[in-house]
Symmetry: C2
Subunit: 341 residues, 2 copies
């Protein structure tokens, strides 16, 4: 004869104590005699009491909820197909779960939506992926005054917590690798090249290295959608307009996937006719044929790190400014998609 809901009041009655005492036992607070505590615990056990987080939230203003905000495709309003997101969320979810926090996944298109999301849900923190400088998302997150971590966002404000990788070095590593193999005509296949985006820094890294060999050519910089479709569509540009190209640096594995496909249709062989590098090192790169040479980052760790930075903010906002930007390492993983010229 369990009641419909086992509440703290119910437990208190069964254990012959006040609800205050039950609360103290649950939260290990105040002084409670071991004898009483023991009794309360056994009643909790017996009735399988599970606290009501909404009530707790209302009282303490903590929701034990982190929001994860990703942008969505327009106009379909779908999450993007890039496995990068899934690996990221996998890391976030695993780390947050370990601390009894849950993850609310939200595709957002407008600042108002973000504001409502953060405030109505009383989120304890929010992780925002790929925010741009001066974006309304950043403003909203700052105004709402909750712990926030930006992933893959190059925001100048030093007070913001950010997790990223060394994109510039990654770009440089890819370029260096191809230069060493003798390539001098290298196309760069970038996603949208907005100011201070990850693409921007990957591009800078490439540019610096290529320039050192006098091999940087602005006309070989191609912007396309960061998707398999985008890589596929860009292939024709590359092979038709610039037949002199011998290598392509893709700023994302997913564009390399599309590029592979189109090149294959056109009868090109990789790496014989064209060397190709990717970026991210998502799981499928190991299964591409030929295996993709790529700039590997630990996407899951990015998520884990973001969660930890959220916890730092919850604990205190005194975390020194110098420690608020974390840059994770990247390294070249040599596959079979690059060859000496």
């Amino acid at each position: 004869m369990l009641p419909k809901e086992v509440t703290i009041k119910y437990i208190a009655e069964k254990a012959n104590v006040s609800i205050a005492t039950v609360s103290n036992v649950i939260n290990d607070k105040g002084r409670v005699s071991e004898k009483t505590a023991e009794r309360v615990r056994s009643v909790i056990q017996q009735y399988q009491y599970q606290g009501n987080l909404a009530a707790k939230n209302l009282r303490t203003n903590k929701s034990y909820l982190f929001g994860v905000v990703v942008s969505v495709t327009q106009p379909e309003r779908k999450l993007k197909d890039n496995p990068f997101y899934w690996e990221l969320i996998s890391g976030i979810e695993a780390e947050a779960s370990g601390y009894e926090f849950s993850i609310v996944l939200k595709g957002i298109d407008s600042a108002e939506e973000l504001s409502a999301f953060i405030n109505q849900r009383n989120l304890d923190g929010v992780i925002i992926v790929g925010a741009e400088e001066n974006s309304s998302f950043v403003k909203v997150a700052e105004e709402s005054n909750i712990p926030a971590v930006y992933i893959d966002s190059y925001l100048e404000d030093v007070s913001l917590y950010q997790v990223r990788i060394d994109d510039k070095q990654g770009g440089a590593a890819a370029a260096k690798h191809l230069l060493q193999l003798g390539h001098r005509k290298v196309a760069l296949l970038s996603g949208k090249l907005t100011y201070n985006s990850v693409n921007h820094f990957r591009w800078e890294g490439c540019k610096e290295e290529l320039s050192a060999f006098d091999s940087y050519d602005e006309s070989l910089l191609i912007e396309t959608d960061t998707s398999a479709e985008g890589g596929y569509a860009a292939a024709d540009d590359i092979i038709e307009k610039f037949p002199e190209i011998t290598a392509v640096i893709c700023f994302s594995d997913i564009t390399a996937l599309g590029l592979y496909k189109r090149l294959n249709e056109k009868g090109y062989e990789i790496p014989k006719d064209l060397s190709i590098t990717g970026f991210d090192g998502v799981y499928f790169t190991n299964y591409m044929i030929p295996e993709l040479t790529t700039i590997k980052q630990d996407v899951g760790k990015k998520g884990v790190t973001a969660v930890n930075l959220l916890f730092e903010q919850i604990k205190s906002n005194a975390w020194p400014v110098e420690n608020r930007r974390i840059s994770l390492p990247v390294y070249l993983v040599e596959g079979e998609s690059t060859a000496p010229l």
Copy 2:
């Protein structure tokens, strides 16, 4: 001079009405004169009032939260790499968002965890992927007495809401296709073949069709992990132990991906040496080389449908039992990975 939190009380003061009236305006309930309502609305607008869902939840017992439960790999406790999940969640998120519901994504390994998750969060509904008959997950969901929808679960209890595809027909379609092409020695590459799993039905479909041509051979049924690694690992079995095989039906695109890789390493050509089919039709199948012939399902729609079934339960539990199981269509998409023998 906004207060730290704009509450209903604050709005009531500014609008010179009671909080009850504010509440009525917000929820379009009770009788409020248009004049008053207008005033209240403008104050809400002015102070950008955003309700507190925790308070609302406590009072109404509705959280506007749906849980999505996926199983995790052991022992790493990671979400699985299969893009199937991402596409599914994409559909769920988009549909739920349209109704102001948010999605809590949770990797779960134990029934206790699931129970705590559902009850503490006051979830309004839960979507469970791939539950097995008699699994403790199903018991927990039933006991907790909240709307639940099972995806890709063949549960016998007719009162349960389930969304799936016609797995048997899908398996049959793959087999039929290969038989038509003249194949008679066909291996089946399945994930774990537990009773009443999707794999089980895909297998049944294959078996029936193959048997009709006297071509079913139990020894050609191979179980492996549903992952690219699983497909990769199974390849050696297939080509070494059973050189007579001319085609492989993979019960998942992701295993086909791994299989492709290993076959390529071994010098096999697809479809010349071996015809291959996949299952699911996830985005990357269009980019496999050769393009994978696969049994396509609309994964996003599966998610959308599950959310709608959740809403049906919220509205009433009187939904006729016959309508509680929804089976979505599948169809063969012919790629380039299958050829006449």
